[in-house]
């Protein structure tokens, strides 16, 4: 009887150990906020010590597009440059200014207020994306060499940082 009970106990233990299983869980989260470059910018050089994206000064204003499929879930934060990513060696301090504004929207009724409601801190502009759809933002970037000294000859480039921040 004890032998039988021992066998049954051993089998129950065996059964318990065989039922243990690690079940994997996986999933994919698709972004509800997609950022794309609509138009790359170009610096114009209206005078020796200024680089600007203003079209009146020979530049091209960069345009970034936000596509949002979830309403009232994201902020668009766009930061204009504060330094060159590539440039000749500079000995003077460069002064940076910049701004960002709404250039186009896909839903006037719900997005026309984005521009009026934007907030700015430093070089960064934040928009509250309250509606679904597409929004195009235009930025302006101006770099002025210190002491109004001429920029050295060479290639200059800078980047605008566009971020989708979840609320």
């Amino acid at each position: 009887m004890l032998k039988k009970a021992g066998i049954i106990f051993a089998m129950s233990l065996f059964t318990l150990s065989a039922q243990a299983l690690d079940v994997p869980i996986s999933g994919t989260v698709q972004s509800r906020c997609v950022i794309t470059t609509d138009t790359p910018g170009t610096y114009g050089n209206p005078n020796a010590y200024t680089l600007t994206t203003s079209s009146s000064d020979g530049g091209v204003q960069p345009i970034v597009r936000y596509d949002v499929t979830l309403a009232d879930a994201y902020y668009a934060q766009i930061t204009t440059p504060t330094s060159f990513t590539t440039s000749p060696s500079l000995t003077d301090t460069v002064t940076w200014t910049g701004s960002t504004s709404v250039s186009s929207i896909s839903d006037a009724t719900n997005m026309a207020g984005y521009e009026a409601a934007k907030t700015t801190f430093g070089q960064t502009t934040q928009f509250d994306l309250t509606a679904t759809g597409s929004t195009w933002f235009t930025s302006t970037s101006v770099a002025t060499n210190g002491g109004n000294k001429a920029f050295p000859g060479g290639n200059y480039s800078a980047t605008i940082e566009a971020v989708c921040v979840a609320k």
Binding site: V102, S103, S104, I105, S106, A108, T109, G113, E115, W136
Partner: protein, 297 residues
């Protein structure tokens, strides 16, 4: 059993496969309908092929307004039957600043061309619209008319429509009551017709005569040819007989071999002139001289 099911399924899908392989719908976009103003006729915008359905609209414009003003902008197409709109999209700019462009792409179900009336951008309130663009995307099904191609479903081989004409209904100038002829003209026409009839009969007779002559000549030429042939045959036969005779004459002779010696021996060593010849020559000479001398008498 499985094989049969697969075969059945294959046969079932075959017609649709063939159709899509041959004639498939194609897609396109129009130009800017608002290029000439804020209203347009779809006849001027859409291409001509039948079987065209509009499946989407893209528009953009920039409102020019004061922030405080109320303004609504409608992009729309009237229904072709005059009742309401087949498409209408409204943006409310009231209380918002102008100068911000709106870009909108709107997908719609395939709506046939026949439903689309005139299009426009209508401003309701205070403000204007600038830099407007309206573009329609469309789908064209070439088999909308099954007779477009034999590959289209429902195609029927056309049977030409041959009209039937009643000969009595055809115009006859001689029976035209509006053609008024006087007696002299009628007589002239009758005479002309008689003359034409006579000429036709004469021409027929001449043609018949020509044919008859031709047949006769043909017949005679055939008999002449037969006679000539017979004569030629006869001459050939005679020539053959003659040739045979000649062949017999010559071929029958036997020439013995050996040496043939001269058998005539000239006895006199000198041959004297013939006196008869001399006499004749003298007479000829005398006659000749007489004739000459007669010229000088």
């Amino acid at each position: 059993m499985l094989k049969r099911l697969l075969l059945g399924a294959l046969v079932g899908f075959l017609p649709s496969y063939c159709y899509s392989d041959n004639i498939t719908p194609y897609y396109g976009t129009t130009g800017n309908a608002a290029q000439g103003g804020l209203s347009w006729s779809m006849k001027d915008v859409l291409p001509t092929p039948p079987g065209l359905d509009i499946n989407g609209i893209f528009y953009r414009y920039t409102p020019n307004k004061n922030t405080a003003d109320d303004m609504k902008v409608h992009v729309q197409n009237k229904h072709a039957n005059g009742n309401g709109y087949v498409f209408r999209d409204t943006e409310d700019w009231s209380g918002h600043q102008g100068g911000i462009e709106v870009r909108k792409l709107i997908g719609i179900g395939d709506i046939p061309r026949s439903a689309w009336g005139d299009g426009s951008i209508e401003v309701e309130g205070t403000g204007t619209v600038e830099d407007a663009t309206v573009i329609y995307s469309y789908k064209v099904d070439p088999c909308y008319d099954p007779q477009f191609s034999p590959s289209c479903p429902g195609y029927k081989t056309p049977i030409p429509d041959i009209p039937t004409v009643n000969l009595d209904d055809l115009y006859d100038a001689t029976k035209d009551e509006y053609v008024n002829l006087n007696d002299e003209e009628k007589l002239s026409i009758e005479e002309n017709e008689e003359r034409l009839t006579e000429e036709e009969e004469k021409e027929k007779k001449e043609a018949e005569e020509k044919k008859r002559k031709y047949r006769l000549e043909k017949l005679m030429s055939i008999s002449d040819a037969a006679a000539l042939f017979a004569e030629t045959q006869m001459i050939e036969q005679m020539n053959g007989i003659m040739q045979d005779q000649l062949n017999n004459t010559y071929l029958a002779a036997t020439i013995p071999g050996g040496q043939y010696k001269e058998t005539i021996i000239l006895v006199d060593k000198k041959l004297p002139d013939s006196k008869a010849g001399l006499r004749n020559g003298l007479a000829q000479q005398i006659l000749h001289e007489k004739m000459i001398s007669k010229q000088y008498k």
